[in-house]
């Protein structure tokens, strides 16, 4: 900034020359300079005031906005997040399709000891042995007086036991909280639920891990806190499951079978409403798996899913379904059933001789091996395999059990014509009863493939079409006739129009060669009602013998069928099915005259 002089020489000299007072110039310049200074100071003050006011407006605006937002927002608890997590149980419940509890948690306590804190180890050991008879007093005393600083005494104790231990009054005996998995229904649906045990353990808590069944399949889901305690809803129905198990158990004992399984499945969406396998176990106290012997004899073995059996004549429906759908035969086509059918060095026989020929319907109704084999020959090996694969007979079932992927059906490596023939009547291929149930459901529900599931589903898209709707209706009619006048005549339940196919297969010998003479797997795969298929029921008995007659009878018609009929009679009302009068096939108005 250049400083203008107050007395510029040029103007002073000019003023002197004119005789004016040069001081006036100086005063004038001072005035001007003061004016300039005043303006500058005012400018600065004004801008400062502006900034300050803006700052105040912003500050008060902020406070006002915060107050407005607080006033407008919903009141909430500021500390809810830190406390909420503790409320939700460690592992989600499992409920049935109507929300009844199948598995839940119960808070119990574990008992541990810290010997350094103990006052009177001798007395403690003595009293503990009195409360828990399975504990050894000497052993406890050795542990309490030894070098150990910490030891578990009991993993889970009841409140009464806890009180008794309290009353010992020993400061070295301590309790830790333990959540335990409780299956209030005992052995009900044991194979589906599986069981749970403790994983990593600490003093304050122990994690519960699934050991088998859905507990293991959905282990991560059940433990996920993000689900906020939402239970896992299965498709099982507790009442129906209990009824099925009760009837099956009675049937198994009546038929002197060593094992039995039943699967009740919704024919349209594949939901498994009941699945039982006997003998069973209590998942509250899951036995340890057997180390020797046949695993299939263990109660842990889920016959419905893990058991791979040659399911015998129940497979005949597949050959006939395919032949009808391909247009090779219709229900009235006559098939040559003259026996025995000799093919190379093999001979195929029927249970009885059914005469020279039978209609396709009668091949199924009378269960003729020869007739089915001839139909299968018409279909051919390649197409037969395609069809069985489409039905899911070659792959493990996709049901939500850890055991399922291990049960891959056993099928022959090579597929010569003799295999085509034997497979058509269910020999030489082994599948689980669940495979059979899923395949029957797919065939009778109108011909779309279903996926068996244990989870409750609200809506399921129909699967790929396997056979036409018309073929499906024909099959239902054939199955109805099997019950009405064929091998499954004991399966008739008045009002429910049961249709089904029996299957009696000889059990293969343990050695792997040949078949046992008097050991069979008797299976009945049924659908009800055939007029409007709703449910598919598969009942399979392991080594049944029915001894009410002169000689022991082992065929499915005498063993599995009555059991299945009783299951249907008892469960259909529970499933909400009203008994209906069956429309008679050729009922019509007949003109009569008198």
């Amino acid at each position: 900034m250049t400083r203008t002089p107050l007395r510029p020489l040029a103007r002073i000299l000019a003023a002197r020359a004119k005789g004016e007072n040069p001081d006036a110039i100086e005063r004038e310049n001072i005035r001007l300079r003061h004016e300039q200074m005043r303006d500058k100071a005012r400018m600065r003050a004004e801008s400062r005031l502006l900034i300050l006011s803006v700052a105040f407006v912003m500050g008060f605006g902020l406070v006002g906005a915060r107050m407005a937002s607080l006033a407008a927002s919903e009141p909430s608890e500021p500390q809810v997040a830190s406390h909420g997590a503790g409320i939700v149980a460690q592992r989600a419940d499992i409920v049935d399709r109507r929300g009844r509890i199948l598995a839940t948690n119960l808070l119990t306590h574990s008992l541990y000891a810290q010997p350094p804190l103990m006052v009177d180890p001798q007395r403690a050991a003595h009293e503990l042995a009195a409360i828990f008879p399975d504990l050894d007093e000497d052993r406890l005393l050795k542990d309490f007086t030894g070098k150990r600083k910490f030891l578990w005494i009991k993993r889970r104790i009841s409140p009464e036991q806890m009180q008794a231990v309290h009353e010992i009054g020993e400061p070295g005996l301590l309790f830790g909280p333990r959540e335990m998995r409780l299956y209030p229904n005992g052995p009900l649906a044991a194979h589906v639920l599986g069981g749970a045990g403790f994983g990593r353990e600490g003093v304050r808590a122990a994690e519960i891990v699934g050991r088998a069944g859905v507990e293991k399949t959905f282990d991560a889901w059940l433990r996920d806190p993000a689900n906020a305690g939402k239970p896992l809803q299965l498709s099982l129905d507790l009442t129906v499951q209990a009824t099925v198990e009760e009837v099956l158990d009675a049937g198994m004992k009546l038929m002197n079978a060593k094992g039995a399984t039943a699967i009740l499945m919704d024919a349209h969406n594949g939901e498994i409403v009941a699945m039982a396998s006997l003998p069973d176990f209590d998942p509250n106290d899951r036995p340890s798996p057997p180390v020797s012997g046949d695993p299939s004899d263990s109660p842990l073995f889920n016959r419905a899913v893990q058991g791979l059996y040659e399911l015998g004549s129940t497979f005949k429906l597949f050959a006939i379904a395919q032949a009808v759908d391909m247009g090779l035969v219709n229900p009235d086509t006559m098939i040559d059933t003259k026996g025995p059918l000799v093919w190379g060095r093999f001979k195929i026989r029927d249970f009885h001789n059914y005469g020279p020929q039978l209609s396709v319907t009668d091949v199924l109704v009378k269960s003729s091996n020869i007739g089915t084999a001839r139909i299968a020959l018409q279909i051919g090996a390649v197409k037969q395999q395609e069809f069985l694969r489409a039905l899911g007979m070659f792959d493990p079932t996709p049901v939500e059990l850890v055991e399922a992927p291990g049960a891959k059906p056993l099928r022959p490596e090579k597929w010569p014509e003799i295999t085509t023939m034997t497979v058509s009547y269910g020999h030489g291929i082994a599948a689980s009863p669940l495979h059979l149930a899923a395949a029957y459901a797919s065939l009778v529900n109108g011909g779309t493939r279903i996926t068996p599931t244990l989870l409750r589903r609200d809506h399921v898209e129909p699967g790929p079409r396997i056979i036409s709707e018309r073929t499906s209706a024909i099959l239902r009619d054939m199955l109805r006739q099997v019950v009405a006048r064929g091998t499954a005549s004991f399966g008739d339940v008045p009002g429910y129009s049961v249709g089904g196919k029996t299957g009696t297969a000889d059990k293969p010998l343990r050695t792997g060669k040949g078949y046992a003479k008097d050991k069979v797997i008797a299976t009945f795969a049924s659908v009800f009602p055939t007029t409007d298929p709703k449910y598919v029921l598969v009942v399979s008995l392991d080594e049944p013998v029915e001894t009410s007659g002169a000689e022991p009878r082992r065929t499915a018609g005498w063993t599995a069928v009555p059991v299945a009929a009783e299951i249907i009679r008892r469960t259909a009302p529970l499933l909400g099915l009203r008994p209906e009068l069956e429309p008679v096939a050729d009922a019509g108005v007949i003109r009569v005259r008198n």
Partner: protein, 115 residues
């Protein structure tokens, strides 16, 4: 005037401070009550879980079946049977009430006086 304004300001600041102080303590009291409630909810949830488990245990099908068998003489309970389905038409409903009279008809009771 100015003194009045200053006194008014001081009094209002004191009032606001008193109000804020009380609000603060009320909030803290609410918070601690909330913590107590949370703890209580947790305990109640726990006992609810126990009660649910007990309910499920007492209602297990095995036990109900046994109870039904034991009390058969008194209750006569049998498993559900297809024959137990009834029709709505079979239910003996009470006859519907007479509809209210909406259109009264004028009638005059006459007495035969000739008799």
């Amino acid at each position: 005037m100015r003194i009045l304004f200053a006194i008014f300001t001081i009094i209002s600041v004191m009032a606001l401070a008193f109000w804020a102080y009380r609000e603060n303590y009320r909030t803290q009291a609410e918070l601690s009550e909330m913590r107590e409630l949370q703890a209580e909810i947790g305990q109640l949830n726990e006992s609810l879980a126990v009660l649910r488990a007990e309910w499920a245990y007492l209602n297990r099908p095995d036990r109900l079946r046994e109870l039904a068998d034991i009390n058969f003489a008194r209750l006569g309970l049998l498993p559900l049977d297809p024959r137990q389905f009834g029709r709505v038409a079979d239910v003996g409903y009470p006859a519907p009430d007479l509809p209210p009279i909406t259109k009264p008809v004028d009638t005059v009771a006459t007495q035969d006086l000739t008799q």
